[in-house]
């Protein structure tokens, strides 16, 4: 498993410190061997990261009974009977509802904060920065227990709403960090030009600022959805009897996971992978087009 020794890769990183460090007197074969250590280590490490994903994917085709542990033979049945497991599709639907709602709320609130932090000077800045940093520096179990204690004191019934409130809270800081970088790289002269051309403040925002910020906002929204969709610890404290997809897995883990869980997880994985690859390819294509336009 972790049989690849990190020391070797580190060694390579050091010895490859710069092109100038390769002395010409060194025999050629040795240099080539040295140069290969780091790439080989990296590929092995990446393969190691993928082991549980491959396992989950392969076992989504297992012709198993209630327990999905030993390999029983290949079947597509689990992919066509996903919702036959009681509560599974309902929990998945809950995760989607929570993820979308929390993403919209956190992205809106966080984007406004990010704009204010970059564009305006105010005295409470350090206190606000601390308030934004702390949720990221607090372990999830403390965030979850704190909210649960508050809902207990207020007598709030736990359910879908309390999960959404919790997820929005921990997503805001991540949205601020992501969007802030984009706002900082925005040239204020573009908005000034809009105002000079008699654009109203709302026109300037929606026609200039917002489209320029959109890539950062989209990245923040994706991050929020991913964080919310995969969250278990905070959800566990604030969900009452409502199940999300991770909570379904946690409860099922005590008696054995049905293969349909692997089906949903594999499908989500493939969808996310396709989205990321499409985004990367389109970005590369756009960069190429831009490069052609410039002399």
């Amino acid at each position: 498993m972790s049989g690849v020794t990190p020391a070797r890769g580190l060694d390579e990183a050091m010895f490859d410190a710069g092109p100038a460090s390769g002395s010409p007197s060194r025999p050629g074969r040795r240099i080539r061997f040295r140069g290969l250590g780091l790439p080989i280590y990296t590929v092995l490490a990446l393969l190691f990261l993928l082991i549980p994903i491959a396992y989950t994917f392969v076992f989504s085709f297992n012709d198993s009974g209630k327990l999905n542990i030993a390999w029983q033979g290949f079947t597509f049945d689990k992919w066509t009977s996903v919702c036959s497991v009681q509560g599974l599709c309902e929990s998945f639907g809950n995760s989607i509802i929570v993820g979308l709602t929390a993403t919209v709320l956190a992205t809106a609130l966080g984007t406004l904060i990010a704009i204010a932090l970059v564009r305006y000077r105010f005295k409470a800045r350090s206190a606000i920065s601390l308030l934004l940093f702390l949720p990221m520096a607090t372990p999830e179990v403390v965030l979850g227990a704190g909210l649960a204690a508050q809902f207990l004191t207020l007598g709030t019934e736990k359910g879908l709403l309390t999960i959404i409130l919790a997820h929005t809270m921990f997503c805001i800081s991540f949205v601020v960090v992501t969007v802030k970088a984009r706002v900082a790289s925005l040239d204020p002269a573009l908005e000034e030009a809009g105002r000079d051309l008699y654009g109203s403040p709302s026109q300037v925002f929606w026609r200039i600022t917002f489209p320029l910020l959109l890539p950062g906002i989209a990245a923040a929204a994706l991050l929020s959805f991913a964080l919310s969709f995969d969250d278990f610890i905070i959800t566990n404290f604030n969900s009452g009897s409502v199940d999300t997809f991770p909570k379904f897995i946690y409860i099922a883990a005590a008696r054995g996971i049905p293969a349909q869980v692997n089906v949903i997880a594999s499908a989500v994985f493939l969808l996310a992978l396709v989205l990321v690859v499409v985004a990367q390819v389109s970005r590369a294509a756009r960069a190429k087009r831009l490069a052609k336009l410039l002399p």
Partner: protein
């Protein structure tokens, strides 16, 4: 609260007042949300941690009090779990750093000439995020189970005794923590190493520094911001984690961490004050460690 600062500033001149007003409008909804659903819960956690059992109520009924013994009782009962949580988190963080640094170095520095390879490898680093954290951990549990190939192999070469296990041990819990947080470590390391100017490394070599010295005196200091954020992003969630150490995942009762005690006390035993006291202890220790670490590493602006 924090917004009183605006009024004094706004009184000075006309233009900044208008701008501060806009800033207030932009900040108010989000900051109010965090005050209501982050800060207020922390305060109720502190209040809960001092509550005393309601003598006339059911199990799980508590009244506001100042019962300091909640802390001494909880620490007295659970100190091995607190120590274990921080011990496991430190080991997992160091392992994740040692494993991730070469990965990040290769992707961020060596693979610069091939942008497509770079983005493909980055996608593979974040790929584990696309599949449920719990499911990844369960997959390792199956792979490391007694009937699994790894245990069979280790037994056949007599590294593991014939009645030995991998799951439910200190090894499997630290292994799970390390595995799960490698992407959190690699990404910030990559972000700083990607901007590393290799001419500094060439300069080191030109000045007759050995590759090891160049690495230690140039590469490491230049990548310090990535090391700091990577170790924090790993250490903090690892110290509070209770999935890897849970009996149904990679742990057993003898590997329980403080997170397991908080979960059990809050959600099963309904001993809210004990869970709250343990949460406050966990958070306080983390804040002290993070504060000292950030000051020593010299990175102040984290957000």
């Amino acid at each position: 609260m924090a917004f009183t600062a605006f009024s004094s500033q706004a009184a000075v001149e006309q233009a900044p007042r208008k701008r501060s007003f806009i800033a207030l409008v932009l900040l108010l909804p989000g900051i109010a949300y965090l005050l209501l659903f982050f800060l207020a819960p922390l305060i109720s956690l502190v209040i809960t941690s001092f509550q005393a059992p309601d003598l006339y109520g059911d199990i799980g009924d508590y009244v506001t009090a100042f019962r300091w013994e909640n802390y001494t009782d909880a620490i007295g009962e659970y100190w091995p779990l607190i120590l274990r949580a921080f011990g496991f988190a430190v080991v997992a963080t160091v392992l994740a750093l040692v494993i991730s640094y070469p990965i990040a170095y290769f992707i961020g520095v060596k693979a610069r000439r091939w942008p497509l390879l770079q983005s493909l490898m980055l996608t593979l680093v974040i790929a584990p995020f696309f599949i449920s954290f719990l499911l990844r951990t369960l997959a390792w549990k199956q792979i490391m189970s007694d009937e699994g190939p790894i245990v069979q192999f280790l037994k056949s070469v007599a590294i593991l005794p014939s009645d030995g296990h991998l799951t439910g041990t200190t090894f499997s819990v630290i292994f799970g923590l390390t595995y799960n947080f490698i992407p959190f470590m690699t990404l910030p390391l990559y972000a700083t190493l990607e901007r590393l100017d290799v001419r500094y490394l060439e300069a080191g070599a030109d000045l007759y520094a050995s590759p090891w010295t160049t690495f230690r005196k140039v590469t490491i200091p230049l990548s310090m911001p990535g090391i700091v954020s990577g170790t924090l992003l790993t250490f903090i969630p690892a110290a509070g984690d209770y999935i890897n150490a849970s009996r149904d995942f990679l742990g057993s009762t003898s590997t329980a961490m403080v997170g397991n005690a908080i979960e059990a006390n809050f959600l099963v035993l309904q001993n809210y004050p004990a869970a709250a006291a343990l949460s406050i202890v966990l958070m306080a220790v983390i804040l002290v460690i993070v504060g000292l670490y950030v000051r020593r590493a010299g990175t102040e602006d984290l957000i």
